[in-house]
């Protein structure tokens, strides 16, 4: 099997997340490249949770709808996903809980008394998953040695018991399929939230402040776990309003801080986003989108807050908005966003979505030298300090409390260069010019980065236009169908020139977005560029590769 997908599912509380990670690592260590899509409802017990683990020969960032192996600990998992089974697919199930199963003849089945085996080994109910993992390993041809290693590395508790149960499953199962993994070294397997967190740390993060909200809650958990290790202060205060203002307090004192939230929490931050614009106290916001309006589908994915991210907050001010498309971009741009927010003293938004935040995939660090992070401009200590000194670039050198030789005043009101409130018209216009001028220099500096990506053969005249987590699925679909892909990563200040360059030779542009209105299509229209077609999906689920291929084919006829 060169490129195949495994679905594992069950009730929330079955331990599907842990099973997913272990299955991913088994295949990763067998030499495959991995991408995992996770689907779960907003409940703690019950409901149906599943993951699709896709293994391929080359690096991937998209899942397929059709599956080759289904692991079922309950009947529901089979009933719900039967239509996804390919011809010749294998269903492994617990014959203790799934009785009288009738499947079409094109499906192979492997029934094992998993519940009974676990009981015989004196294991707990959740260890049925461990037994299933062992059976899976044998059935598809993962070696006993890899199974043992991965199980040992991944169970923080009851390692021996889990190992015994995994091997019991392994020994009970026949070898059904034969995986043909390529002889490649395994790459780290991490989540989108981890990529963002590591990127922020790389960018010099000192403090992370957040109020839990899917899909960035795992980022809060990850950084809280890592806090001591990287000497971070991680704080969960009373509300998102408290969150962003606390981060700005850190920044005023000279510490690089970031916050994380989703649309609802970002609504509450809007007033302070504007404060960041006016006071020039930088803040970085990880905004993980999920379907709205309002509470919407809390644990699902969407790309519906692009215009909100671009426009939130009263008044006119410069902001950086980046929408990374995969794990490497999430890492790279999280680090850069922190650096650029500080260099230009502006708010920066890292716009992600549940699909990127909670996916798991292979990750490679950028080469040394690719990762230079911008440094802030610091006051040289000469002359009287003026926090808002009106410079050519609009960037006023920073000084941080406490300093004997400087009084550092920041202000939400319009203010003069020393930070004292003013209502005088001429001064107001001058200071607004100063702040907006920073946008020009920021845009210029962005030229040194890949702000807009183009994939595929340059001679192709039809291109898919995408942003954020749709990158992976669009690039792979386009490759198959012989199309180009254009993916802007920076969305504010919009890299108009780079975008036009990336469009060179394209005569037909098809927007692919996870929203109902085509938000990126609207944005580029303001720059005089029209899309020809839109492929939109707004049911909370990201595009699967096979699904997008079909829709693109329908569209291009």
């Amino acid at each position: 099997m060169e490129d195949f997908s495994v679905l594992t599912g069950g009730k929330a509380g079955f331990g599907i997340d842990q099973a997913t990670l272990i299955l991913g690592r088994l295949l990763n260590q067998s030499g495959y490249r991995i991408y995992v899509y996770r689907d779960y409802p907003s409940v703690i017990r019950g409901g149906h949770t599943f993951s699709i683990i896709r293994a391929a020969q080359t690096k991937i960032a998209a899942h397929r709808d059709k599956i080759d192996v289904l692991l079922a600990l309950d009947r529901e998992t089979i009933d719900l996903h039967q239509t996804r089974l390919k011809d010749g697919a294998l269903v492994i199930y617990d014959s203790e809980t799934v009785k009288d199963l009738v499947l079409p003849g094109r499906i192979e089945t492997l029934d094992l008394p998993i519940g009974r085996m676990v009981k015989e080994e004196k294991g707990f109910e959740v260890m049925r998953n461990t037994c299933m993992i062992g059976a899976f390993a044998k059935a598809v041809g993962v070696t006993r040695e890899v199974l043992e290693r991965v199980v040992k590395e991944n169970f923080p508790k009851e390692v021996d018991l889990n190992l015994k149960i995994a091997l019991r499953g392994f020994d009970a199962a026949p070898a059904v399929k034969k995986i043909a993994p390529p002889p490649s070294e395994p790459l780290p397997l991490i989540s989108g939230n981890q990529a963002v967190g590591l990127g922020l740390i790389k960018g010099g993060l000192q403090d992370y402040v957040a109020y839990p909200m899917t899909p960035t809650t795992p980022l809060l958990h990850f950084l809280a776990e890592q806090a001591d290790h990287y000497s971070l202060k991680v704080i969960h205060p009373e509300s998102e309003i408290g969150v962003i203002l606390m981060a700005m307090g850190f920044a005023y004192a000279g510490e690089k801080a970031a916050v994380g939230t989703s649309g609802g929490g970002f609504c509450m931050m809007a007033e302070s986003l504007s404060l960041s614009g006016m006071s020039e106290v930088p803040v970085v916001i990880v905004l993980g989108q999920r379907p709205g309006p309002s509470t919407g589908l809390p644990t699902y994915s969407a790309q519906t807050d692009l215009h909100f991210a671009l426009n939130a907050g009263q008044g006119e001010f410069v902001r950086l908005v980046v929408a990374p498309g995969d794990l490497e971009e999430a890492y790279f741009w999280s680090a850069q966003a922190l650096g650029l927010a500080w260099k230009y003293q502006v708010p920066a938004i890292i716009l992600t979505d549940k699909n990127l935040n909670e996916c798991i995939g292979n990750f490679e660090l950028p080469q040394d030298g690719e990762m230079e992070v911008s440094a802030p401009s610091l006051w040289d200590g000469k002359g009287p300090y003026r926090r808002y000194a009106n410079t050519e670039t609009g960037v006023s050198p920073l000084a941080f409390v406490p300093r004997r030789d400087a009084v550092i005043k920041v202000n939400s009101y319009e203010h003069d260069e020393s930070g004292i409130t003013t209502e005088e018209g001429e001064m107001a216009a001058k200071m607004q010019d100063k702040r907006l001028r920073k946008g020009r220099y920021l845009l210029e500096e962005l030229n040194r980065f890949p702000t807009v990506n183009r994939f595929g053969d340059d001679s192709r005249t039809t291109a898919l236009l995408c942003w954020g987590s749709n990158k992976g699925v669009c690039v792979e679909a386009a490759q198959k169908l012989g199309l180009s892909v254009v993916q802007p990563v920076v969305l504010s200040p919009f890299p108009d020139d780079a975008f036009r360059r990336a469009l060179a030779g394209v005569t037909k542009l098809i927007a692919v977005e996870n929203n109902a209105t085509g938000q990126l299509a609207h944005l580029i229209k303001a720059f005089g560029i029209d899309v020809d077609e839109m492929i939109l999906k707004y049911d909370g689920r990201p595009f699967a590769l096979d699904e997008l291929e079909t829709r693109v084919k329908e569209t291009i006829g």
Binding site: L187, I190, K202, E238, A253, E271, S279, L365
Partner: protein, 283 residues
């Protein structure tokens, strides 16, 4: 640097006779005294909300963060956690701290973070030209409640005591010596300190006479005893007619929030190394 008068060249726009002047003069005097003792001026940061009170940020020549309405507290917390050596003092209005941003106040008290709150409690919204506030008495005829407010006020000191504040005091804008003593003690107190200042707004809510007849200074009060503090705090509920006690109601020593964070720093090389290590463990 000699900055003894601590003034700035910002023109003062408070109404003549406004109680805010006492707070301004009082804090300048206290900061000047502290400068010569334990706390140099560069270690002071003022955080202000929005309202008449907040203009104080422009009028004192020390570090300041002139924030937004109701939001002094989280800004102050971030500054304090980042630089525990600083004295962070918030100047907030009653509308500001007890209304718009009340959640922050309760949580800061609960954390016992070492910041000082000075509340310019003029018992009205003044900068927005006179509406009732969380501490206006019932029946208060502000411009949003022309028939009289149908809500009773909160007793902010009682609320703060219940929220685990470790220093609670009350003064008035007429009694400068007491006010300065309270500022000084609140700033030096290690933990969350709040001074509720009955600040007279001469333009909209002139309670000068009203307070003059009722205030008295606490005597023989055991500020360490929470029950005694509660009794004294409840003597006047900001609504009915009663004697109004001034002074320190409650003070307690307890561990503070910011001191739990370790000050260590990981340098860039070590950070890169640890990131690589994490990735190697994620196969």
């Amino acid at each position: 640097m000699s900055r003894t008068n601590l003034g700035t060249d910002a023109p003062n726009t408070w109404c003549p006779g406004c109680g805010n002047f006492s707070i301004l003069n009082g804090i300048k005097t206290v900061l000047n005294e502290l400068k010569d003792e334990t706390c140099p001026l560069e270690d002071i940061v003022i955080v202000a909300g929005i309202g008449c009170h907040a203009k104080i940020a422009d009028y004192v020549d020390v570090n300041s963060f002139y924030a937004i309405h109701g939001r002094t507290v989280p800004v102050a917390e971030g500054i304090k956690i980042a630089r525990p050596g600083l004295k962070v003092i918030c100047f907030a209005g009653d509308g500001d701290a007890y209304g718009e941003g009340l959640e922050h106040l309760i949580f800061a008290a609960k954390r016992n973070i070492d910041i000082t709150m000075v509340i310019h409690n003029n018992r009205s919204y003044s900068l927005t030209a006179f509406q009732y506030s969380p501490t206006s008495p019932s029946g208060f005829k502000g411009r949003s409640t022309p028939q009289g407010s149908i809500e009773a006020p909160i007793n902010p000191l009682e609320l703060m005591l219940a929220s685990r504040a470790t220093f609670l005091g009350r003064g008035t804008s007429q009694g400068l010596p007491l006010l300065m003593r309270l500022f000084r003690e609140a700033i030096l107190h290690k933990g969350f300190a709040l001074v509720d200042v009955l600040q007279v707004c001469v333009t909209f809510n002139n309670l000068y006479e009203y307070y003059a007849k009722r205030v008295y200074e606490l005597q023989d009060h055991d500020a360490k005893n929470p029950m005694a503090a509660l009794m004294k705090i409840r003597e006047w509920d900001y609504n009915s007619d009663a004697q109004i006690a001034l002074g320190v109601f409650y003070q307690k020593q307890e561990a503070t929030f910011e001191e739990r964070f370790k000050p260590s720093r990981v340098d860039e090389q070590e950070r890169d190394h640890k990131i690589k290590q994490f990735l190697n463990d994620s196969l």
